[in-house]
C-alpha cells in the first residue's frame, strides 16, 4: 500500500500543486507496468490483464490533467521534475526506503504491482494518506471553488473522441471533477473492500495478485468476500523474456549496441512524454502521436531485450528516462 506525504493547503494554488503531484504519481506507475508488459512474452492472460491496467493508468493521467487544466493549472509531463528515475521511490510517497523498480515479468514484479495498487484505509488520523484518501481530500476544496475559478476552454480538455471511449470526459466544473475522481478512485471492483460481484473489471491489485499467485480469482457468492482462488491462470514464467532488472542502473560503457538500444527506448519514451505534454496543454490532437510513440517504445523495448551486454551476458531494456537531448 502506498502512503503519501500529507496534502497541503487547499486553496486554488494548493489544489493545483496537489493535482500536479497526482499527475506525477499516476505517470510514475506506468514504466514498471510497461516493463513487465513488454517482457511478458507468450503469456496472453497476463498480457491482457497488464494491458488493461496500463490503459486505466493512462486514463488516470489524462483525467487528472483535465482537472488541473480546468482550475487554471498547467500539467507538467515532459519535465525532469515530473519524471522519476528507477529504481526510486514513487513521487510523494513516504516509503523512501522502498524503491519502485523496473522488473521483468516475474512473481516479484507482480508482487510489486500488488503493493503499489493495494487500496486501504489508513486507521484513525491520516497524516500519511493512501492514494484513495488523497483523491478524496480534493473533493471538498474542488466543490468549494467559485464558478470563476473554472477554465472552460475546450482546447485545454481531452475528450473521448479518439481514445478511451466512454471514459475520458472533459472537466468544466466541480461535477466534472468529481466524476473524474470517481473514475480514478474506484477503478475496478474490490477497491473499496466490498465483496466482489464480478460485475465490473476487478481492481488492479486483484489482477496483480492473480498473476503473482498464477491463479484465477473467481466468483464465489457463497463466500463472505465473494471470491475464492481457482484454477491456474496459465502463466509460464519461462516464456517471459529474461530481461535485466533496473536496466538504467547498469553501466553499458563498452557495450555500444546495448547503449544504442537503450538510447532508442529513451528517445521513444521522451518523445511520448513530449506529445502527451502538448496534448494536455492546448493541442489535444497530439495524443494520437503519443500513442504512436508508445508503439515505437514497445518495438524498441523488444529490440533492446534482444541486445546483450555484460559478462555473463544479460540483455538491455528500456530505462524510461526523460532525455530531451536525444530528440535533437
Amino acid at each position: 500500500m502506498i502512503r503519501l506525504v500529507p496534502a497541503g493547503p487547499t486553496d486554488l494554488r494548493g489544489l493545483r500543486t496537489m493535482l500536479q503531484r497526482a499527475v506525477r504519481l499516476e505517470l510514475a506507475t506506468l514504466p514498471p507496468y510497461l516493463y513487465a508488459l513488454f517482457s511478458a512474452g507468450e503469456n496472453p492472460a497476463a498480457v491482457d490483464r497488464i494491458q488493461h491496467i496500463v490503459r486505466e493508468e493512462m486514463l488516470h493521467v489524462v483525467l487528472v490533467c483535465n482537472i488541473l487544466n480546468a482550475i487554471g493549472g498547467t500539467p507538467r509531463i515532459a519535465h525532469p521534475d515530473a519524471v522519476p528515475t528507477y529504481p526510486g521511490p514513487l513521487p510523494h510517497s513516504v516509503e523512501e526506503g522502498r524503491p519502485i523498480r523496473l522488473l521483468p515479468f516475474s512473481v516479484e514484479a507482480m508482487a510489486q504491482g500488488v503493493d503499489v495498487e493495494e487500496p486501504g484505509e489508513a486507521p484513525g488520523e491520516v497524516p500519511f494518506p493512501t492514494v484513495g484518501q488523497f483523491y478524496d481530500s480534493l473533493r471538498d476544496p474542488l466543490r468549494a471553488l467559485p464558478r470563476a475559478a473554472w477554465d472552460t476552454r475546450p482546447e485545454r480538455q481531452l475528450d473521448d473522441a479518439t481514445f478511451f471511449p466512454g471514459a475520458l470526459h472533459p472537466v468544466r466544473d466541480a461535477d466534472g471533477a468529481m466524476a473524474a475522481i470517481d473514475r480514478i478512485a474506484t477503478a475496478g471492483e474490490g477497491s473499496t473492500g466490498a465483496p466482489l460481484a464480478f460485475r465490473r473489471e476487478l481492481a488492479p491489485h486483484h489482477r496483480f495478485e492473480e498473476m503473482r499467485r498464477n491463479q484465477v480469482l473467481e466468483r464465489a457468492p457463497d463466500e463472505a468476500r465473494g471470491y475464492r482462488w481457482g484454477p491456474s491462470l496459465g502463466i509460464d514464467w519461462n516464456a517471459a523474456i529474461p530481461a535485466v532488472a533496473d536496466p538504467g542502473a547498469h553501466d553499458l560503457a563498452g557495450w555500444p549496441e546495448a547503449q544504442a538500444a537503450q538510447d532508442r527506448c529513451d528517445r521513444a519514451y521522451t518523445s511520448m512524454l513530449r506529445e502527451v505534454q502538448r496534448a494536455v496543454t492546448g493541442e489535444p490532437a497530439r495524443l494520437a502521436h503519443a500513442a504512436a510513440d508508445m508503439l515505437t517504445l514497445r518495438r524498441e523495448a523488444i529490440r533492446a531485450f534482444a541486445t546483450p551486454f555484460g559478462t555473463p551476458p544479460r540483455t538491455a531494456g528500456p530505462a524510461f528516462r526523460y532525455r530531451p537531448g536525444l530528440l535533437g
Binding site: 492472460a45 491482457d48 490483464r49 473522441a161 479518439t162 471511449p165 466512454g166 471514459a167 460481484a197 464480478f198 460485475r199 465490473r200 473489471e201 476487478l202 492473480e210 484465477v216 480469482l217 473467481e218 466468483r219 457468492p221 471470491y227 481457482g230 494520437a288 500513442a291 504512436a292 508503439l295 518495438r299 529490440r303
Partner: protein, 473 residues
C-alpha cells in the same frame, strides 16, 4: 433468428467507429436482462456484467451498399473470473443495412470457439446445456447499431443486441428466421420472427432503428385465408417484442403469413422464401475462385425440395437461375470477374421475379463477392526492398494510413526487423484475424508471394548473422 430462441442474453451499449484506423470499439455495454422462456428477468448474476468487442471495420465492396464486416479476435461477456461468455472470432461479424445509418450485425461461433463460465448464472448454464445436448451448434451474437446523431466527431452508434444459441443448420452471419419485409413506402427495415414455446417473438431492433411507425399490431393470415389478429407488439428497449398467445392464435402464427400493421396499414409482411449465403462476404482471388454457397429457407426453415433462385449481378452479368438440392443448398460458381460485386439472391416458386436493376440490401437476399487479381507479373521480380515497397507496401500506406501508427512502411530497416511478424500477419491463415495486414484485405497472391519471399530472405539473413556473431558461431 436463432437468438430469438431461448435462453438468450440482452445487452445494450455504444459503438465507436473510427473511419481512419478502421478500429471499432464496443464500450459502455452491459447485459441488461436474460430471457429463459417466460420473459425478461434481471436477477440472474450475468445481468450487469460488461461486454467488450474491438474489431476492424472493413468493406468488402467499398463502393456498394452492402458488404461491411467487422473482423475481431474476441467478443467477451463478463470479466475473467466471473459469469462469462468468451468468444473467439473465427469469422467476422457481417452486416445487413437497415437504413442510412443503421445496420444489423451478426456472427456465430461454433463450440470449439467459445467458453462459458456459468457459476451461479442459470442463463449461462442453460446456454451451455443447449450446446452440450446437441441442440445448438454454438453461440450467435447479433446487434443492431443505430447512429447516435447527437454525438459529434467520429461515428458513434447506440447498440442493442442479443447473445443466444446458434441452432443447428441456421445461418452463420445473417438472420435466418421468418422474415417480414417492408410493404409500400414505409421506411422500415425487415424484422425477424419466430414462434418460441407459446410466444411469438419478433425482433424489431433493425426495423425501428431509424423510424417509429407508432403502435404496431401483428396478425396472421392462415393458409385458408382467415385473418387472425394476434395482438399488439410492444418492443422492449432492445427491440424485441414477445407476445404470449393462446393455442389457437399460436397455431395461426406458426402456420400463417404474418403482417405487422401500423395505423391500419400493413407496413411489414412476411416473405415466404429467403436465400442466405453461407459466407455473406466472400473474399476470393483469381487463383482460387470458388463457389458462393447459399441456402434457401421457407419461413425460417430450410426448404425440403429443390427450389429456384434467381441470381442477379446488375451491370456485371446476365441473371441466371440456379436450383437447390432437396435440402435447399446450392453452390454457385464464381467466375473470374475481378472486383467486388453484390450478388442478389431471389428464391421463388413458380415464375421468376423481374430482375432488379440494383440491390436494395434491406429487402433482398444478397452476398458480396470480391475477387482480387492474381498479379502474376510480380512472380518474376526479385524480392528486393525496392520491389516490395513499390508493389506492396506503398499501396497499403495509401489505402490505410493507420498502419503508420505502428510501423513506418517506408522504413526498410524497421520493416526488416519486423519481417517475421509481417509474414505472420499477412498469411492466408490469418485473413479473418483482427490484425491481418493490410487491414482492407487488399493483398493479391502475387503481392503476398513477393512480400513473403522478401520476409524469408531478411529473416534468414538475420538468423545467419546471429549465428555468426554468437560464441562458437
Amino acid at each position: 433468428m436463432s437468438v430469438l430462441d431461448v435462453p438468450h442474453l440482452l445487452f445494450r451499449g455504444l459503438m465507436a467507429w473510427d473511419p481512419v484506423t478502421h478500429r471499432s470499439v464496443l464500450f459502455g455495454a452491459s447485459v441488461t436482462g436474460v430471457d429463459l422462456g417466460d420473459g425478461v428477468v434481471r436477477d440472474d448474476p450475468v445481468v450487469g456484467v460488461p461486454l467488450s468487442l474491438t474489431g476492424m471495420l472493413v468493406d468488402a465492396d467499398p463502393d456498394g451498399p452492402a458488404g461491411a464486416q467487422l473482423f475481431y479476435d474476441a467478443f467477451t461477456v463478463g470479466v475473467d473470473g466471473g459469469c462469462q461468455v468468451a468468444l473467439t472470432g473465427a469469422r467476422p461479424f457481417c452486416s445487413r443495412p437497415t437504413g442510412p445509418a443503421s445496420a444489423v450485425w451478426q456472427a456465430s461461433v461454433a463450440e470449439a470457439g467459445f467458453a462459458i463460465s456459468a457459476f451461479d448464472s442459470v442463463a449461462l448454464a442453460r446456454l451451455q446445456d443447449e450446446v452440450d445436448a446437441g441442440r445448438a451448434d454454438g453461440i450467435t451474437v447479433r446487434f443492431t447499431a443505430r447512429r447516435d446523431e447527437h454525438h459529434g466527431g467520429p461515428a458513434r452508434s447506440l447498440v442493442v443486441g442479443v447473445v443466444g444459441p446458434w441452432r443447428c443448420g441456421e445461418p452463420v452471419a445473417e438472420p435466418g428466421d421468418r422474415t417480414l419485409v417492408p410493404v409500400g413506402p414505409a421506411p422500415l427495415a425487415p424484422a425477424s420472427a419466430r414462434v418460441v414455446g407459446s410466444r411469438l417473438v419478433v425482433d424489431l431492433a433493425g426495423s425501428l432503428a431509424e423510424t417509429d411507425p407508432g403502435p404496431l399490431d401483428v396478425r396472421a393470415t392462415t393458409p385458408g385465408g382467415t385473418v387472425v389478429p394476434l395482438g399488439p407488439l410492444i418492443a422492449d428497449g432492445h427491440g424485441i417484442a414477445a407476445l404470449p398467445l393462446d393455442p389457437a392464435p399460436l397455431d395461426a402464427a406458426a402456420t400463417g403469413t404474418l403482417d405487422l400493421v401500423a395505423g391500419g396499414r400493413v407496413v411489414l409482411r412476411e416473405r415466404e422464401l429467403a436465400a442466405v449465403a453461407t459466407t455473406p462476404n466472400l473474399h476470393l482471388d483469381e487463383v482460387a475462385l470458388g463457389d458462393l454457397d447459399v441456402r434457401v429457407l421457407r419461413r425460417g426453415r430450410p426448404v425440403t425440395a429443390p427450389t429456384s433462385v434467381l441470381v442477379v449481378r446488375p451491370g456485371v452479368a446476365d441473371p441466371v437461375t440456379v436450383t437447390t438440392d432437396d435440402d435447399g443448398c446450392a453452390s454457385i460458381p464464381v467466375d473470374d470477374a475481378v472486383g467486388a460485386w453484390p450478388w442478389i439472391l431471389l428464391p421463388y416458386d413458380g415464375d421468376p421475379p423481374a430482375a432488379p436493376s440494383a440491390l436494395d440490401p434491406r429487402t433482398m437476399g444478397h452476398a458480396t463477392v470480391r475477387v482480387l487479381p492474381r498479379d502474376q507479373q510480380l512472380d518474376a521480380l526479385p524480392p528486393t526492398w525496392a520491389n516490395v515497397h513499390r508493389h506492396v507496401l506503398a499501396g497499403w500506406k495509401a489505402q490505410a494510413p493507420c498502419m503508420d501508427g505502428w510501423l513506418d512502411l517506408a522504413d526498410e530497416a524497421a520493416c526488416a526487423r519486423t519481417a517475421r511478424l509481417i509474414r505472420q500477419l499477412t498469411g492466408v491463415e490469418n485473413h479473418d484475424r483482427h490484425r491481418y495486414m493490410p487491414v482492407t484485405r487488399d493483398l493479391t497472391v502475387g503481392q503476398r508471394t513477393l512480400l513473403h519471399r522478401w520476409c524469408d530472405e531478411v529473416t534468414d539473413a538475420a538468423a545467419a548473422r546471429l549465428r555468426k556473431s554468437s560464441p562458437g558461431g
